[in-house]
């Protein structure tokens, strides 16, 4: 019965699907069994109406297929990602780009509070936030407490550091952790160092001058 319902939903979805969306779900052909494909397609179609992009969901399903996961696990992962993307969109606004939503969902999953995303967007409504969000998530992946990672990244972005310097900051923290430094302390210390350099305009940790492109926030 469920398979019939999912099949019907997939057929109905195919009838009303725009061309770009059809191309997304066509990538699932031959990679998933019929039941899983119908379920993933139904999720993609349902969230698209809410402004959530479908490509990351299709990618997640393909990742599961490539890694040999069973259908139930793939559908659960796609559903969880859809929820994360929707939360990221709610926090970042309807104008957020797809890469921003992907990075935002990763940051939320890492433990960032939605208010962190809202504050970033509020401070920089027209700037791309992919790198700050991704760096935050990556730091948590290396063991930095989510709150510490969020505060560090927010401070650096407000200080006007460039994207390349944010990536360099993350790499520096990773090196410190690999050398035995506590993750939270490494992030705090490196953030203070990079932030000071950024605001004074001397060569940054990436070996490039880092003039502040944004006015410093109070």
């Amino acid at each position: 019965m469920n398979a019939r319902i999912l099949g019907l939903a997939a057929v109905l979805g195919a009838l009303v699907r725009p061309p770009a969306a059809a191309a997304q779900v066509e990538r699932l052909a031959g990679r998933l069994d019929e039941r899983t494909r119908a379920a993933v397609t139904a999720i993609v179609d349902s969230v698209r109406a809410a402004g959530v992009p479908g490509d990351p969901l299709v990618n997640k399903a393909l990742e599961g297929a490539s890694k040999g996961a069973d259908g139930a696990r793939i559908v659960a992962a796609v559903r969880a990602l859809a929820a994360g993307l929707a939360r990221a969109r709610a926090a970042l606004g309807t104008g957020a780009s797809e890469p921003e939503l992907v990075a935002g969902a990763a940051a939320l999953r890492a433990g960032a509070a939605p208010s962190f995303l809202e504050r970033l967007r509020g401070d920089f409504p027209r700037e791309p936030l992919v790198v700050p969000l991704a760096v935050m998530a990556d730091l948590v992946g290396r063991g930095v407490p989510p709150d510490t990672a969020a505060v560090s990244v927010l401070a650096l972005v407000r200080a006007g550091v460039r994207e390349a310097d944010l990536v360099a900051f993350r790499q520096s923290v990773e090196r410190d952790i690999a050398l035995g430094a506590p993750a939270g302390a490494a992030a705090t210390a490196r953030a203070a160092s990079v932030g000071d350099l950024a605001t004074t305009g001397v060569p940054s940790t990436a070996g490039q001058t880092a003039p502040a492109p944004h006015p410093r926030k109070p």
Partner: protein, 200 residues
């Protein structure tokens, strides 16, 4: 009343009764005139107006202009649905910052695996295909591959000998693994190339 059906009197009466009553010759006309004087209700008039066939006179030039207008609407709708930047579209949502739509940046994936027969990269950027992006080996056993990527955050793994998934030791790990195997992450900033890679 036995045998009454054969009674001539009754038969004559029955024959008289079977005759239709005589009406005035213009009775029907007067009834229809009275009916036409009653105004129909608004819905009834609207329904009648909708059902009445009409003939539209359109010049060839007017017809061509109308057809061109319809075609333009269809093309504009298809373009709007397919263009990057639309919600649910391929690249980004309408109103996205311009920096999110810059040209791809080359990212070099590096992996040291002297004993491997083949190494490929599989990730969000290639549909997680195990064989679509094979890496090249140098004599020392270093496998490399340049992949142009648009700004964003991508998950990936190295596929060793076509079946074994190995996370990039030199890259951050994705927080939370959905499928029981560690996955690496590469973040591409706008306009800066990056090297990703580790060793086995």
């Amino acid at each position: 009343m036995h045998g009454s059906a054969e009674d001539p009197l009754i038969a004559r009466i029955a024959a008289e009764l079977r005759q239709p009553p005589a009406a005035h010759p213009d009775f029907d006309a007067r009834v229809m005139a009275a009916v036409r004087r009653v105004p129909p209700s608004l819905p009834a008039r609207a329904w009648t107006w909708l059902r009445e066939p009409r003939i539209l006179a359109v010049s060839p030039l007017g017809g061509l202009a109308a057809a061109a207008g319809v075609a333009a609407l269809i093309v504009a709708g298809a373009w709007a649905a397919a263009r990057p930047g639309r919600a649910g579209g391929r690249a980004s949502i309408a109103g996205a910052p311009a920096a999110a739509r810059v040209t791809p940046t080359p990212v070099t994936f590096v992996f040291m695996a002297p004993g491997a027969r083949s190494v490929a990269v599989a990730g969000d950027f290639d549909g997680w295909d195990r064989a679509r992006m094979p890496m090249r080996r140098d004599p020392s056993g270093l496998w490399t591959l340049d992949v142009p990527l648009s700004p964003g955050r991508y998950q990936y793994v190295f596929v060793v000998d076509g079946r074994r998934f190995v996370a990039d030791p030199a890259a951050p790990r994705a927080v939370g693994d959905d499928f029981g195997q560690p996955t690496s992450v590469v973040t591409v900033a706008g306009g800066a190339s990056r090297a990703a890679g580790g060793s086995l």
